[in-house]
C-alpha cells in the first residue's frame, strides 16, 4: 500500500469534480485549493510520478498538511483512495524519517507498550510542568487498562458470543475506564470477552508518518496474537484502530508475506464495539438517564457502513437520554491523531467550527468513539463531558 507507483492509475480517476471541497477540513479552514485532496494528489502525480515538477519544501508541506481523516476518500464519487495516496507519498518523501531519531525511538517504545510507560511515564509529569507536552493531553491513568483486565471476562447469563477485545494505546494508557465500560456492557449483554496479552499499537501513527518498517512490525505483532484466538469477532472501541485492522493491515504487507492471509481473515472479524453490540442487539435493558447529548461521528467511520448509526440506535434505547443532532455531525474536529500538536492554529480553527455546532445543540454531553476526538474536543469544550458511547451506556446500566 505504501508504494506510490501502485496508485498511478487510480490518481487519473480524479475528474476534478471538486466534491472533496465539501468535506476536506483543511481546505474548509484554509480556503485554498492547493490544500485540498484534489490538488494534493494532482501535485503528487505531477512531481513524484511524472517528474513534471521538482519535489520541493512546499510540496512536502502540502502533503503533510493533511489529517488523513479520509473524508475525501469517503466523498469521492470515483473511489480514489486519497488517504492511501497521501500516506504512500509521505513514505516516499520521508522514508520513515519524518521525525527526528530520538522522537522516533520514544514513539516506537510507546507504540510497542501501548502507552508512555517506564521512563516516559516518569518524565510525563515533568514534561507537562515544563510545557513540553501539549496542554490538550490528559495525564496518563494511574493504572493502564492492561493492568486492570487480563484473560477472560465471562458473559452474564447465556453466552451469545465470544469476542477478543483489542485495546489501543489511548484507551490503554489514558482512558482505561472506557475499556472497562466496553467489557462490562458486552458481558452484561451475554458476550464473553477475551483480553489478550502481548498486543501493541495498531500502527496507524506509523502509517501517518509514512514509516513502513514500524507499521509492518506492529501489524505482524497484533495479527500474530489476534488471528490465533478462537473468537467470533475482534472488537475495538477505537474507530482508528478499527480502520487500520479492517482496511489497511493486510495491504501494508508485502505481497508474498505469510502473515497477509491471516491479516485478511482478521479483517473479516473486526468490529467497532458499539457497532458489534448493536448488530447483536441488546438483551439487557439499560436503566434511565437524564441527559441531553449529541453524537460526533468520527472521521474514521468508512470501514463499516453501520458504524455511524450504531451509537445512536443503542443510546435511543436509554430512556431519558435525549439525542440532539448537530448540523454537521460528520465534520472533522481537527484532532487527526497527533496532527493537532503540530498544526495548532489550523486544528483549532477546524475545532472551533465543530464546537460552535455542538454549542447550538445545547447538549451537556458529547459522545464519540474516537479517543483523539474526545481528547481534543474535551480541551475545546471546558465544563462539558466528552465520552465514548459505551461509557454513557455503562452509566445507564449503573456501572
Amino acid at each position: 500500500m505504501l508504494n506510490l507507483d501502485a496508485y498511478r492509475d487510480l490518481i487519473t480517476k480524479c475528474s476534478q469534480c471538486q466534491l472533496c471541497q465539501t468535506t476536506c477540513p483543511v481546505f474548509l479552514e484554509d480556503m485554498l485549493e492547493t490544500h485540498l485532496a484534489r490538488a494534493r494528489i494532482g501535485l503528487i502525480q505531477a512531481a513524484m510520478l511524472e517528474g513534471k515538477m521538482p519535489v520541493t519544501r512546499r510540496l512536502r508541506e502540502i502533503v503533510d498538511r493533511c489529517l488523513l481523516c479520509t473524508n475525501c476518500t469517503q466523498t469521492c464519487p470515483s473511489w480514489v483512495p486519497v488517504d492511501e495516496i497521501i500516506a504512500a507519498a509521505r513514505f516516499e518523501l520521508h522514508k520513515g524519517k519524518r521525525r527526528g531519531r530520538i522522537e522516533r525511538y520514544l514513539m516506537h517504545q510507546a507504540m510497542k507498550q501501548r502507552g508512555p510507560k517506564g521512563l516516559m511515564e516518569k518524565a510525563a509529569p515533568l514534561a507537562k510542568k515544563l510545557g513540553w507536552s501539549p496542554e490538550e493531553l490528559p495525564a496518563p491513568a494511574e493504572r493502564d487498562f492492561d493492568h486492570r483486565f487480563q484473560g477472560v471476562i465471562p458473559a452474564e447469563g447465556a453466552r451469545r458470543a465470544r469476542v477478543a477485545y483489542y485495546v489501543g494505546c489511548a484507551t490503554n494508557a489514558f482512558y482505561p475506564e472506557t475499556g472497562e465500560a466496553v467489557v462490562r456492557v458486552l458481558a452484561r449483554n451475554g458476550v464473553e470477552v477475551v483480553v489478550p496479552e502481548g498486543l501493541s499499537c495498531c500502527g496507524l501513527p506509523a502509517l501517518v508518518d509514512g514509516d513502513l518498517g514500524t507499521l509492518q512490525e506492529m501489524v505482524r505483532l497484533n495479527v500474530g496474537v489476534l488471528a490465533a484466538l478462537d473468537v467470533d469477532a475482534v472488537v475495538t472501541d477505537c474507530t482508528s484502530c478499527g480502520l487500520l485492522f479492517k482496511a489497511k493491515a493486510a495491504k501494508v504487507l508485502p505481497e508474498d508475506d505469510p502473515v497477509m492471509a491471516r491479516a485478511e481473515a482478521l479483517a473479516g472479524k473486526v468490529w467497532e464495539a458499539t457497532d458489534y453490540l448493536n448488530h447483536l442487539g441488546l438483551v439487557s435493558e439499560p436503566g434511565p438517564l437524564g441527559e441531553r447529548y449529541t453524537y460526533h461521528v468520527p472521521c474514521h467511520r468508512g470501514w463499516s457502513p453501520t458504524l455511524a448509526d450504531a451509537p445512536r440506535q443503542l443510546l435511543d434505547r436509554v430512556s431519558g437520554a435525549e439525542r440532539v443532532e448537530m448540523e454537521h455531525p460528520e465534520a472533522c474536529c481537527g484532532a487527526g491523531g497527533a496532527f493537532f500538536m503540530e498544526y495548532k492554529a489550523l486544528s483549532q480553527g477546524i475545532r472551533s467550527r465543530k464546537t460552535e455546532d455542538i454549542d447550538r445543540t445545547g447538549s451537556e454531553t458529547v459522545v464519540t468513539q474516537c479517543p483523539a476526538c474526545r481528547t481534543y474536543l474535551a480541551a475545546g469544550l471546558p465544563g462539558r463531558r466528552v465520552l465514548h458511547p459505551m461509557a454513557l451506556l455503562a452509566r445507564a446500566y449503573g456501572f
Binding site: 475528474s15 480556503m31 492547493t34
Partner: protein, 463 residues
C-alpha cells in the same frame, strides 16, 4: 510579470496571495483539465469587494490577465487561466448578507457555496430553485457567471431567472451596482443579465441579489424504467402534454444507472434501456394528483417498472447518486467529454435516435443523459484508449453533435457556458454580425482585454 506576487501582497496582504509553482499548478484548470492547462503567475484570494477592486486597479494599470474563479468545477474551461496572469479565487468571500422573507430576496457575496445557500433559505421555508449538479461546491458567483442550471430547469428555470442585481468590479477597478432588489426593473440596458453568463470576460462579480420562492411543502421522487431509449424520450414530451410539469425530469441510460447503482440501496433493475428519474413537488394534494396521473401514463406507455420512492430520505440518495454520476464515470472510463447541447423538448426522440446512430457509425461510446425535461441533453463521449485516431473521432463527434443540435432548433450550451471548449462553435450559432456586436460590447467593458482572455471570443490579450 516580475514582482507581481510581491506587489499584490503589498496591496491586500500576503495571506491572500500565493505564487509557489505548486499553488499555481493547483489553480491551472477546471473539470476540463484533459483539454488544456494554463499556469497563472499568482493566485489571489480577496476577502472583500475593496480588495478585489485594488487587485483590478493594479491589473488594469499593468495589463495583467485576470481569470475569476469560483469552485473550479466548470465543464467548459471557463476558469482555466489560458493567458497566465492572476487567478482571482472568490471563495473567501462567502458571507450570506441577507435573507429577506418579506421581500422574498437574498443577498450574498459571490463565493457563497450554492448548497450552503440552499440550506440557509430552506431552513426558513424559502426556495432557491437553480440546482446545477455541482451544487455541493459551486459558488453563486460562478453560477451567475455561467448561467448555471440543473434538473429543476424544467419547472423553475435556471440562474438568470432569479438574479435581480449584482455588484461588479469592472476591469479598471471601479465598482458598480446593477439591477435592484425588486422583481420589476425597467431602467436602461439590463447590465445584470449582461453580466449573467459573461464568464468573467466583462468584470468580477462580487455580490449577488436573487429572488426566492416559497419552499414547496411536498416532494416525491419516482423512477420509470423503459424498454427503449425511444419510449423514454417520447414519454418526456408526453408528461408535460398531459398537464404535469415535474420539478425534475432526468433522462438516464442503462450505463448511467449501472454507475448510480453503486450509490443506491435497493439498486435499480438493469432491465431497461432508458430511465426517467422524476421529482414531483407542490402541495400534498397537487403532488398526489400528479403521482396518480404519472402512474396512469406509465401504464398506458407500458413502462417496465415504475418505482415510487417511499420517503424523502431515500429520495435524497437518488439525487445524490445523480450528482455523483458524472464524476463517477471516470471510475470506469479513462476520459469523458460532457456536451451540453439543448434541443426543443419535442425533438428529444430525434436527437436520441440520431446519437445512437452516430455512436455506431463513428465507433465511439457516446452515452446520453440529461435534464430531458427542459431539452438539456448531455451527450457524453467516453474513452479508454487515447489514440490520436480516437481523439480525432471525438472532436469530429462533438462537431457533429453540435451541428445536429442546432439543426433541430437547439443551442450549443444550455447551462455549462462556452469557455474555450465551445468557443470554436460560436459562429455557427450566433453568426458573424452578432459576434461582431458582442465583441464591441466586450471592448466597451474591457478595452485592454485583461478579463479572462481566450474565453468566449477566441482571441488573446488584444480586444
Amino acid at each position: 510579470m516580475k514582482g507581481l506576487a510581491k506587489d499584490l501582497g503589498g496591496l491586500i496582504g500576503r495571506q491572500g496571495v500565493w505564487s509557489d509553482p505548486e499553488d499555481l499548478y493547483a489553480y491551472s484548470t477546471d473539470m476540463t483539465h484533459y483539454l488544456a492547462r494554463g499556469m497563472p503567475e499568482a493566485v489571489v484570494l480577496p476577502a472583500s469587494t475593496e480588495e478585489t477592486a485594488k487587485v483590478m486597479q493594479y491589473a488594469f494599470k499593468h495589463e495583467v490577465a485576470v481569470t475569476p474563479r469560483g469552485a473550479g468545477s466548470g465543464l467548459s474551461g471557463g476558469c482555466t487561466p489560458l493567458h497566465g496572469g492572476i487567478v482571482l479565487d472568490m471563495k473567501r468571500m462567502r458571507r450570506i448578507l441577507e435573507i429577506n422573507p418579506g421581500n422574498m430576496t437574498a443577498g450574498m457575496e459571490a463565493g457563497v457555496v450554492l448548497r450552503q445557500f440552499h440550506n440557509a433559505v430552506e431552513r426558513m421555508g424559502l426556495f432557491y430553485p437553480p440546482d446545477p449538479q455541482s451544487q455541493e461546491v459551486s459558488t453563486l458567483g460562478g453560477n451567475v457567471a455561467t448561467r448555471a442550471g440543473g434538473p429543476r430547469g424544467v419547472k423553475y428555470g435556471t440562474t438568470p431567472n432569479y438574479v435581480l442585481g449584482l455588484e461588479v468590479v469592472l476591469p479598471d477597478g471601479s465598482i458598480i451596482h446593477t439591477g435592484a432588489s425588486t422583481v420589476k426593473y425597467s431602467v436602461g440596458y439590463d447590465l445584470t443579465h449582461l453580466m449573467t453568463g459573461s464568464e468573467g470576460t466583462l468584470g468580477v462579480i462580487t455580490r449577488v441579489t436573487v429572488r426566492l420562492l416559497p419552499l414547496p411543502p411536498t416532494r416525491r421522487t419516482a423512477v420509470a424504467v423503459f424498454a427503449s431509449l425511444d419510449e423514454a424520450a417520447t414519454m418526456v414530451a408526453e408528461i408535460t402534454v398531459r398537464g404535469t410539469v415535474p420539478a425534475k425530469l432526468e433522462f438516464i441510460t442503462q450505463g448511467g444507472i449501472q454507475i448510480m447503482n453503486s450509490f443506491l440501496d435497493p439498486v435499480l433493475p438493469l432491465t431497461g434501456e432508458a430511465y426517467l428519474l422524476i421529482e414531483l413537488d407542490g402541495t400534498p394534494a397537487q403532488v398526489e394528483e400528479d403521482a396518480v396521473r404519472l402512474e396512469a401514463l406509465c401504464k398506458e406507455m407500458k413502462v417496465l417498472e415504475l418505482r415510487m420512492v417511499p420517503d424523502e430520505k431515500q429520495a435524497q440518495t437518488y439525487w445524490k447518486a445523480r450528482i455523483n454520476l458524472a464524476p463517477a464515470i471516470l471510475s470506469i472510463f479513462k476520459r469523458m467529454i460532457i456536451e451540453d447541447v439543448t434541443v426543443p423538448r419535442d425533438r428529444i426522440p430525434d436527437f436520441v435516435r440520431w446519437l445512437q446512430n452516430l455512436s455506431a457509425s463513428i465507433g465511439l461510446v457516446i452515452g446520453v443523459g440529461g435534464h430531458a425535461g427542459d431539452g438539456n441533453m448531455h451527450p457524453t463521449i467516453v474513452l479508454n484508449d487515447f489514440s490520436q485516431e480516437n481523439e480525432k473521432k471525438a472532436r469530429e463527434a462533438i462537431e457533429q453533435i453540435v451541428k445536429y443540435g442546432l439543426s433541430l432548433g437547439g443551442t450549443i450550451s444550455g447551462e455549462h457556458g462556452i469557455g474555450f471548449h465551445k468557443a470554436p462553435f460560436l459562429l455557427w450559432e450566433l453568426g458573424q454580425t452578432q459576434i461582431d456586436l458582442q465583441r464591441r460590447i466586450k471592448q466597451a467593458f474591457d478595452p485592454k482585454g485583461i478579463m479572462n482572455p481566450g474565453k468566449l471570443w477566441n482571441y488573446g490579450g488584444a480586444a
